[in-house]
Amino acid sequence: TPDGRVFAPPAARKLARELDVDIGEVEGSGPGGRISEADVRAHAESAEVHDETA
């Protein structure tokens, strides 16, 4: 988005902080790319997989 805003509910934003995920890098599966908690979790898990395989 033009102002760098991420469309994600507060709980998803908080989860991202908890999991140390940069929410700006999460791909949202909701309408218009809205990010859900599940998206944040999936991103965190795939990041872990990357870390392990790297």
Partner: protein
């Protein structure tokens, strides 16, 4: 007698018991932190004692009378009389109940309460000066401090509040006998809320404002219904003038104002209310002693965790900058307390709503159309006028509208502007929509109870998508 010096210790010292401080203290204690809350004045701060609550109480009381007086169209005939002393007593009762509640809640959550003025000694010690009988002071060591010292009304040089006929908002809220003529300097939200109260009390109110309209932060069409209602109430406005001088007369004042070109005007009044803004309170605390930086306006700069430049010191509420609103103070207080407790909290809200309790109310959240454009969005606008709302018509108040601002592609809602009945309540749904990343379609698809004012939010969303039922889509 001066009490000797004792030093105590606390994990979290919260300075100031307004909506920033007391909320921070309660949340800190809920998180298991040993917490001390100190205030030199009443629990609840400006908001509960001299701000939000007393002003809203007087607005409600005068509204009940005003509504009854203006309901002949509905077949209701009444000639209400307001006994200002009783109204004040009731208002004080409401304030006492709430401030007493704050005290109880603090205690129930295990917050240590302290009465006194805090001054930093260094970044881990403060001195608390007790006023009143048992005068004296004590030192307190802290691991973390939360500064929540709030704000005070700005004084115009020469128009200091110690002069009897010159009122601050606090003085105005305590009036037992309304003046016949009141001059209000400043048409910001506090000036407008109070002008309305006094006009409804039958006072002859004149407003002088330096800028060229009321509540300049808001869009013209948003303030227009408020200006119109104020005109109907007989409030007289003089824009483009600044108060420059005053003189006491028998039992009143003559105030001189000046316009841009230096032309002078004079106004007779019994009292004069100066409401030209508020400024942070930080000096008595001596933040510099703790190494905390204060900007040229007296505000303490903080990051998105409410932290100052000093690692273990936080600042929240009015002293930490705009918007100077109670709920912004509380939000920051919660975040500061949670960060101290080690939780992943942050001031990550997309938007902070604001309400003005004028007649009719104004409430906004997030971006205006212009702000959305500036931010690089191509905004999509939806609007619904209350005159097309069955609920608004059936309550006899149908001025105003709901406007939603969304981004073009997915229709994510970016902002809302509401002027009209219960605007302050209706904005809650809009704020949730923004935080949730809701789209116009989400709001339009949510079933809204009939007949309610909240349907206007749904219709505005439909209107943005050219699908409104109860207004033409253009």
């Amino acid at each position: 007698m001066v009490v000797g010096d004792v030093t105590t210790g606390t994990e979290v010292l919260v300075i100031g018991a307004g909506p920033g401080g007391y909320v921070a203290a309660i949340r800190a204690a809920q998180n298991g932190l040993d917490t001390t809350l100190v205030d030199r004045d009443g629990y609840g701060g400006t908001c509960l004692n001299y701000g939000c609550i007393p002003s809203k109480a007087l607005i409600s009381a005068t509204d009940v009378a005003h509504d009854a007086r203006n309901a002949t169209e509905m077949g209701v005939h009444a000639d209400p009389v307001i006994h200002t002393d009783e109204m004040q007593e009731w208002k004080d009762g409401v304030v006492d109940q709430l401030t007493g509640g704050v005290e109880k809640l603090c205690k129930a959550n295990g917050v240590n309460l302290m009465q006194g003025e805090a001054t930093f000694v260094d970044d881990s010690t403060a001195r608390i000066a007790h006023g009143g009988e048992g005068q004296g002071s004590e030192s307190i060591d802290f691991e973390h401090a939360i500064v929540a010292t709030g704000s005070r009304p700005i004084q115009v040089p020469g128009f200091e509040f110690e002069h009897d006929p010159i009122w601050s908002s606090r003085d105005a809220l305590e009036v037992e006998e309304p003046p016949e003529k009141l001059l209000v300097v400043g048409a910001g939200y506090i000036g407008m809320e109070l002008s309305t109260v006094f006009a409804k009390l039958g006072v002859d109110v004149t407003v002088v404002e330096m800028l060229d309209g009321i509540m300049p932060g808001y869009e013209d069409d948003v303030t227009r219904p408020v200006k119109k209602r104020a005109d109907e109430l007989g409030i007289e406005f003089n824009f483009g003038e600044a108060a420059s001088d005053w003189e006491e007369t028998e039992g009143g004042v003559v105030v001189t104002t000046e316009d841009e070109d230096g032309a002078e005007y004079t106004y007779d009044a019994d009292k004069m209310l100066v409401a030209v803004g508020r400024q942070p309170i930080s000096e008595s605390l001596d933040p510099e002693a703790a190494g905390v930086e204060v900007d040229e306006n007296g505000f303490i700069q903080t990051d998105d965790q409410a932290r100052t430049n000093v690692d273990n010191i936080y600042a929240v509420g009015d002293v930490a900058g705009e918007p100077m609103l109670a709920h912004k103070a509380s939000k920051e207080g919660i975040v500061a307390a949670e960060v101290i407790a080690g939780e992943p909290a942050a001031l990550d809200q997309q938007a902070i709503p604001a309400a003005v309790f004028t007649d009719p109310e104004i409430a906004t959240v997030g971006m205006t159309e212009a702000e959305a454009e500036e931010a690089g969005f191509e905004p999509k606008i939806g609007q619904f006028p209350f005159r097309a709302s069955g609920r608004a018509l059936s309550t006899g108040e149908s001025e105003g509208f709901v406007r939603l601002v969304a981004e073009q592609e997915a229709g994510f809602i970016l902002g809302a502007q509401i002027v009209g009945p219960e605007a302050s309540e209706l904005i809650a749904e809009c704020a949730l929509a923004i935080e949730m990343g809701a789209t116009l379609e989400d709001v339009a698809s949510t079933v809204h109870t009939h007949p309610t004012l909240a349907e206007a939010v749904m219709e505005a969303a439909e209107n943005a998508n050219d699908e409104a039922i109860h207004t033409l889509n253009r």
